[in-house]
Subunit: 229 residues, 4 copies
């Protein structure tokens, strides 16, 4: 053999311009990403209860507007890479799950928990970076309240058999603040607050951000972008 | 059932303090990482040819010292998360594989290619972000010569059967400049310049950085840290 | 390229002589198998409670001896192919789980359920061919009481991380009477009669056959062989 | 918790009546299988060159009719369990690949090799039980010429990404004469006589049986059934 026999030239991978660090972004969207929040408005989102997203946009950031309910993207996704930045308010109060509780639901189904876990103990399969009520994070990589946290999420959508069970279950890798907290974790099924995960057949779904309705100050988000894989 | 039945409190994941952005780091090492280069010296490395690593350290950066050969870490690793920053020199010349060629070998075996692929066409399974001679990157996420690129790599070591074949082959996820370029890719075997990948049984191994010996200016590295998984 | 470039001649796979059909075997052991019961004695087994296996051997078959407890192989195994034949007595009585209940525990840990499910309804994740309390069989492939059933099982042992969690969880394929009932199923953890599966680190382990102690007539086994993979 | 919390009763797996041993079948079709050859005619098959299948049916067996080309099932399949019995003629001659060569192509794409490998050496990734030109069998489980061999095959169809690459590659388990020879093997791509496997997007496909056109006596088949998974 000669070296050329194991070399191929097409198809050329698309050229993507990476993002950069800015005052409002740990890294801005690459050139091929769908920008879900650019600092200005919630036009990519709607209320899960119906109608426009009612959360508060200010200074390039949006914040949970308690009692208005969860919001979701208008667009639905299969497998993707997601970048999302979120901040626990500096004056957070409460303990365990009642302290800065929110979450990102992948395909509208599978929650990656958000919680203030900086010096706040809770059940480990409910702490930040967990697949909620399933798999705890490998480590607790929280930044302090008032600082911005980042989730970089690689999500692989499930494949279903005709009978509605998983041919391939969903899988997720989560990197929080540059540190892997879920490493190609198999998601076991639906997120059940009570009981065992279930298998429910579904197709493409939105991202959902949770309004958990805790009594303390609500959490904020910025710089959200997604790339379909 | 009641909610508490699916909650567990131990073991608590270790607390890790995330890194931060500095002038010399896209993100510094988290508190639990092994720092392989902190800007000062190559004490964590040695020459593959024997003896001390002969590459050049200057201004918090080290640079390939051509003709001194590849360098490798003194420590050996199984599965890990690796962060490494690298820069193609601004005055790079050459074409295809003869332009800023280097690479990171995982467990001393499996190469993630480094090359100047900014406006430089080559075979796609040999471009930056490829598993060399195997799997091209999903996209071309290069920054310009003179700018720092980042690899965040999640590597899962293979498991071998008694007969030396893979029980589980190695797998790798590579994020370049915040953009996933290898998504849980199965590595097919050894990196062969000529011919098919082979299966060769091995244990823990070092990281190796390649001195490819191209005629143009050599590439540089900084801020390298690794976390065992 | 020429065809010879993708052809290799070594190592030659071992030659194995397949088994044959006999009056006492759906298929006898291949030449490279470890025979765990050849119709004569239980010398390959011992009581889990200590001492010799007390089950009854007669006419090339052995039968649960109630109140003497589970039996296990003296030899321990990692991954394997297992062939085992078992028979529900023709005069079985009882309903649901109290009707011909036994089971095969893989590596002493993970139970593939045995039960008379011929016209006997029970919870589906507890019926014959289930990973007990986890995953029901794809179909109910039972033969009538008095007839011999066969399990052909391909089991892949788990790989653990240093912290005792699964790097790779155990997986199992079960073919009952020539029909696949578990198709590369991921075993979720320990078999828990009450509650959720747990992850418990373990090494090689024996096969265990269960003395479930039901009031009706006990079940029988014959022609058991295993091949390490 | 109480035991009932981890028990569920629906959906009940379908009841399937297993097959039995007959003079013309190692095991006949289970009640839910699609019978592809019942000993009488080739009505489930057609010539790949067009028109009716021209192979010879006699005494409950069909035999390659050389120069009439490959045959394929009229029906197309995704994932499945396949049972197929085949026989090398007792008076086979020739050596290496020119001795009883045929093959079963899964989804019309991926060949499990059939060859007389009883005392006949060839390249190991081309012997019986191999994924042809890819992965040799774990062992050589051949019966003598004149005796019937059995393949029980569990095949999982690939899932493709939008760009035509594998989201999940095809996988195959092959049990020959009761002995596992491929254990959940990943199929690397197309079967290439010359060169590297390629990834080619496809949907459901037929089974194809190969007329290899060797000079010696042709091989025969009987008792073919398939169950969609």
């Amino acid at each position: 053999m000669v070296p050329e026999m194991s070399e191929y030239w097409t198809p050329q991978p698309p050229v993507v311009t990476p993002g950069t660090v800015t005052p409002n972004a740990v890294i801005t969207a690459p050139s091929d990403a769908i920008v879900l929040f650019d600092g200005k408005d919630l036009s990519a989102w709607e209320s899960v209860q119906g109608g426009a997203a009612q959360w508060t946009v200010k200074d390039g950031v949006f914040t949970v507007n308690k009692s208005t309910g969860d919001i979701r993207t208008k667009q639905e996704f299969e497998s993707f890479q997601l970048h999302i930045e979120w901040r626990i308010p500096e004056d957070i109060t409460g303990t365990s799950q009642a302290r800065g509780n929110s979450g990102v639901f992948l395909q509208g189904m599978y929650e990656i928990q958000i919680l203030d876990c900086y010096n706040n103990e809770t059940y480990v399969n409910g702490q930040t970076g967990s697949v909620y009520k399933q798999t705890p994070p490998l480590v607790n990589a929280m930044r302090k309240p008032g600082e911005w946290n980042v989730y970089d999420i690689l999500y692989t959508a499930p494949v279903f058999k005709a009978d509605g069970t998983y041919q391939y279950p969903p899988r997720v890798t989560v990197i929080q603040n540059g540190i892997v907290v879920q490493n190609n974790t198999t998601i076991l099924g639906t997120i059940e607050y009570i009981g065992f995960p279930k298998t429910v057949k579904h197709g493409a779904g939105p991202l959902i951000l949770q309004d958990h309705g805790d009594p303390s100050e609500p959490i904020s988000f910025r710089n959200i972008w997604i790339r379909e894989l």
